[in-house]
Symmetry: C2
Subunit: 220 residues, 2 copies
């Protein structure tokens, strides 16, 4: 990360201004609608300098979030392999990362991101664009059901992390990792595999799974 | 910390001092180890005044947490009825409360409680003593397994709330309540009913479920 030489790349004030502008942009407009050009303009620097310091927009986002890990590397890794063990691999990966030294930084990031509406929006962008979107891409899921399925998985994994690492509720907090994998992974797997409830198709605009775009008689 | 003299009931400064002392005590010593007497002493008031303003220790705790609802009333209500629908009733109750006007206050409470270690400890006490303990008491669960089962349920419900109300991840955020009940309740029910994983008995000191105290051959 730390780069020396040329253009005073160590200028911490400039970097801080860029990160601040990035946070503002990502929170206000979301990850997709934010551009490095606009962020650079807001920070009063040349876009090339943003690229030079941070690389891609995605890496800038991770830096703006103080993200201790890069889900772009971890998620595809956890999701490659037999589909029927995806739940197990996801839960074990989440616990392994948070049990590691990076975990306390992750707790800190999570806490600060939850603290108000503005930073919560950043966290939502992080979860959606960096985690869920990749998970959808890595898993074979019906496109009409994929967003609900992956967000259900996210609720279980986020809840597990909060219970174990943030609130530290016993026996979650000190349970052996494999106990939690064994207890939680089957439920994560069911969110991926179980048939969607009957009521889902009416929620989903009356579209039959897999038939995205069919007209909705209820007009919702 | 501002102390005024004379008990002038309704004195907001006095009430605030008591609540501040209560938060400190509950966070430092936990709910069980905190006494109204000690809290009154810390606030420089007579214990009778604490009872006068707030009633029981439990009600003082709810007031100190700015809790918008009283889980002591809701949990037993959600858990009475057929055991095989306990998961469904829990999920629907949680969504109903958070969808109600009290919900935004609950989001605010949750956010502020997550914000640092000190207030997170208060939230843990709240979850453990006001929610999980009641849930254990209302459900017929093997005592050796009850704490893990109820904390697993708590992770799923907490994660659902964070996804829907705090981070507002779509489609969780705007999904019809009954879609979420139908999708999530079966997993909550499984946390209550499914056999504990094999690995649990070694975690649990080698005790077979229901046979608390049996020796553990692995010696863990």
């Amino acid at each position: 990360m730390v780069k020396r030489s040329g253009r005073r790349p160590g200028n911490q004030d400039t970097k801080a201004s860029i990160l601040e502008a990035a946070r503002r942009a990502f929170a206000e407009k979301g990850f997709d609608q934010s551009s490095i050009r606009a962020i650079a303009g807001d920070a009063g620097v040349d876009p090339a300098l943003v690229h030079h310091y941070f690389g891609t927009k995605e890496k800038l986002f991770l830096a703006a979030m103080n993200a201790p890990i890069n889900p772009g590397e971890l998620i595809p890794q956890a999701l490659s392999g037999p589909r029927e063990q995806a739940g197990e691999r996801l839960v074990r990966m989440a616990l392994t990362v948070w049990d590691s030294p990076a975990g306390s930084a992750a707790v800190a990031m999570f806490r600060s991101a939850m603290s108000n509406e503005w930073t919560a929006r950043l966290l939502r962008e992080f979860v959606v664009t960096q985690i869920l979107r990749r998970a959808v891409a890595s898993l074979v899921l019906d496109p009409a059901e994929a967003p609900l399925r992956t967000s259900l998985v996210a609720t279980q994994i986020a809840g597990m992390m909060i219970g174990r690492y943030v609130l530290r509720i016993e026996p979650m907090a000190s349970a052996d990792r494999e106990v939690l994998v064994a207890a939680i992974a089957p439920n994560v797997q069911r969110f991926l595999d179980d048939p969607m409830p009957e009521v889902f198709s009416s929620y989903n605009g009356g579209r039959a799974p897999g038939a995205a775009g069919a007209p909705d008689p209820a007009g919702r």
